[in-house]
């Protein structure tokens, strides 16, 4: 049969964001995939080199709407790492609680979108209906349903009175927990859903390691990686995180990983609210920090890395964002080949792509010296292992 090209995107009702997947098909079977990104490139790193380190959390919050807490946290961690700033305990706990609430919200949103992709609109409506109490909680705690603006360099901007809101938070979580368990059962038991999701988009453990995937995509393929456990930040060491790993590597495995994460997040929030200490929420910066810093955060989609280079002024020299979807998307190629066109949306959806996080440039351009400096993965890894002499790493 002759080869045809079926375009998915760039502006497609299945995807909320524009991205271009060219599926080269024979009949209904996919034989090759070409991806083209860059439709949401907005020049965020360029804008970051013009704003102060107190304005940048507002900017990076709008890299992505769904992971809108983890990007400012990551940036603030990078600056605090560069300047050796110690964040107070209460601020770390508040960051943890908001991060886990956001994880619940993001996974419920994803579950609804995945159900919509296989045509199961009823489940889509139910999941988003149960997401509304979480949005109400956010409005109660932070003032807005989506962009919370809680972080600043050195801590959090606003305090939360947990004596007043603890009952409300726990009540909302205990109400949605049995409902989510019921909906999760209906995904795992329904024969048509199983026919659409089991065995679809299989990523073997070998391929997962080769493509360096992160997040639920990796945990669904048997890799035991989670930044909260491997390199704890905020209050995760005190509170403790349980990781669940599945080895099948298909779309159903990743769904189950995410459902488990939602239930685990509810436990973490309960523990964190019980253990939160009193104290200040923010340290004052006496002078702008100097040096290079890397922040790592477990976003709902995987490991998010921010690198910042500061030169002693409030305007950073360079900000680099490496979002989790950037490494998860190339792993779509082995997953898509051999499947039907009808499976393509759910395979792409199971990886939970966040295109707005992904569209960054790869190379660093030093405007003063007018040449390109590319920080390779080894150098980034070396830096992540706390190499205290940052200038040695730069060429």
């Amino acid at each position: 049969m002759p080869e045809t090209i079926i375009p998915i995107g760039p502006y497609h009702p299945a995807l909320k964001e524009p991205e271009f997947f060219q599926l080269i098909v024979e009949g209904e079977k996919i034989v090759d995939v070409k991806m083209r990104m860059g439709y949401i490139h907005r020049g965020i790193e360029f804008l970051a080199s013009k704003k102060t380190i107190h304005q940048i959390p507002v900017l990076v919050e709008r890299i992505c709407g769904i992971c809108s807490h983890c990007h400012p946290t990551c940036f603030c961690q990078a600056v605090e790492d560069a300047g050796d700033i110690e964040v107070p305990d209460r601020a770390r706990y508040i960051r943890t609680i908001i991060a886990e609430l956001e994880r619940i919200h993001s996974h419920l949103l994803w579950a609804g979108v995945a159900a919509h992709l296989i045509g199961y609109d009823t489940l889509f409506m139910y999941f988003w209906r149960y997401r509304e109490p979480v949005c109400n909680l956010f409005e109660l705690l932070t003032g807005n349903r989506q962009n919370y603006a809680m972080e600043c360099v050195g801590g959090v901007r606003r305090d939360i009175d947990f004596k007043m809101s603890k009952d409300k938070i726990l009540k909302v979580l205990s109400e949605i927990k049995p409902a989510i368990l019921r909906l999760a059962n209906s995904i795992a038991e329904d024969p048509v859903v199983k026919a659409r999701m089991v065995g679809i988009g299989v990523l073997s453990q070998h391929d997962a390691r080769k493509y360096c995937v992160v997040g639920p995509t990796a945990r669904g393929s048997g890799l035991k990686i989670d930044v909260r456990i491997c390199e704890p930040y905020d209050a995760y060491k005190e509170v403790g995180v349980d990781m669940k790993v599945f080895t099948e590597g298909d779309a159903m495995a990743r769904t189950l990983v995410r459902i488990h994460e939602v239930l685990e997040s509810m436990e973490i929030i309960g523990r964190a609210i019980d253990a939160i200490p009193n104290g200040p929420i923010q340290v004052e910066l006496k002078e702008p920090p100097k040096g290079e810093g890397v922040g790592k955060v477990e976003a709902p989609r995987g490991e998010d890395i921010h690198y910042v280079a500061l030169n002693g002024t409030v305007i950073p020299e360079r900000l680099k964002v490496r979002a989790p979807s950037y490494v998860n998307l190339p792993s779509l190629t082995p997953q898509l080949i051999g499947h039907d066109i009808a499976d393509a949306p759910i395979i792409i959806g199971a990886v939970d792509p966040c295109m707005s996080c992904t569209d960054r440039m790869v190379s660093i351009v030093d405007r003063k010296r007018n040449d390109k400096v590319i920080l390779s993965l080894e150098e980034l890894a070396q830096f992540g292992r706390k190499n205290k002499n940052p200038l040695k790493v730069r060429r």
Binding site: T4, I6, L117, G119, D121, T122, M125, Y126, V192, I341
Partner: protein, 318 residues
């Protein structure tokens, strides 16, 4: 029948005006049940009428890559079928407006026309989504016609005749509907699943799968032509439930022996029709969409086996 009576029945009752209004009302019931299943309120009762009016008032764009004649004629093919079929199905009396030997076979052919219209329209659009949608509709048509035809054969064998009037009168005389016999029940299952596929409802909502192929064969249609497609779909909802009730539940026939039975049988007719619609909508609401190859396997293996089982039951006397 003289010419005036023919024209009145073609356009008024049970022809176009009656079927289209009942069809749009059924489309509203379908959407309302779906909304209630999804924990929502759903549209008000006048919504389908307003949708069709609005579509008729929009500009109709014919893309330059399309084959003009086929693009414009495709919706008409399905529309004509829905014009003619109500005249062959009995309502109120057990004899329909046009009745002749072998009209059951003609009914099966006419019910396949809307699917063919969609295929022609999709491939005439000149759009890759249209072609994929058209090929899916083609595969679906080939798959669901087989169990449907075997189910019709079962009914024919059970009743012993090829006319729709004969089917209805057999059910009235024997006192039980075909649904309550073993062979009729199996044939009903096959015909019901095929009807779901004809109406493009979950789990067989494959040709216009919004999240996979944009809008499938409907992608390039706009304005008046899209209105004709939507109206055909609504009328098909009415006609297919009417056909299933006629073949398996004793038909929409009113018993004129006394005043009590007139009222009782009229109410029963409405209950049968709307009840079947409820079942169709609920099945649509609680199922995701199946893949085309899974659907083919389902129809060709399982449903054909069930329909053949029904046929065998007839020869065993059940």
């Amino acid at each position: 029948m003289n010419l005036v009576e023919v024209i009145l029945s073609v356009f008024l009752f049970p022809g176009f005006i009656f079927t289209s209004n009942i069809g749009l009302f059924f489309a509203w019931v379908n959407r309302k049940i779906l909304a209630r299943l999804q924990w929502r309120v759903g549209p008000p009762i006048y919504q389908p009428w307003v949708d069709i009016l609005k579509l008729l008032s929009k500009q109709t764009i014919i893309p330059s890559t399309a084959h003009k004649a086929a693009f414009i004629l495709a919706p008409m093919i399905g529309f004509t079928a829905t014009f003619v079929v109500p005249l062959m199905l009995p309502i109120v009396y057990s004899a329909p407006v046009f009745s002749f030997l072998g009209d059951l076979i003609v009914l099966v052919y006419l019910l396949a026309l809307p699917g063919i219209a969609l295929m022609v329209g999709g491939s005439a659009s000149g759009n890759p989504y249209g072609s994929v949608g058209s090929s899916r509709e083609m595969m679906l048509l080939l798959s669901y016609e087989l169990p449907f035809i075997i189910a019709i054969f079962t009914v024919v064998a059970k009743v012993g005749g090829l006319s729709i009037t004969g089917v209805v009168e057999h059910q009235i005389e024997s006192g039980t509907c075909l649904f309550f016999t073993a062979s009729g029940f199996l044939a009903f299952i096959a015909a019901f699943a095929s009807s779901l596929a004809k109406l493009s409802l979950n789990p067989f909502e494959i040709p216009d799968a919004k999240t996979e192929i944009v809008a499938g064969p409907y992608t390039e249609y706009s304005g008046g032509l899209l209105a004709i497609f939507k109206l055909t779909h609504a009328m098909l909802l009415c006609i297919l439930t009417w056909t299933l009730v006629t073949l398996f539940f004793g038909g929409l026939v009113v018993d004129f022996t006394s005043q009590v039975t007139v009222v009782a049988s009229s109410v029963l007719c409405v209950v049968k029709l709307v009840g079947l619609l409820f079942v169709v909508s609920i099945v649509h609401g609680i199922n995701p969409r199946a893949r085309i190859d899974q659907t083919l396997k389902f129809f060709w293996l399982y449903l054909t086996a069930i329909a053949c089982g029904g046929l065998i039951m007839v020869f065993l006397g059940w």
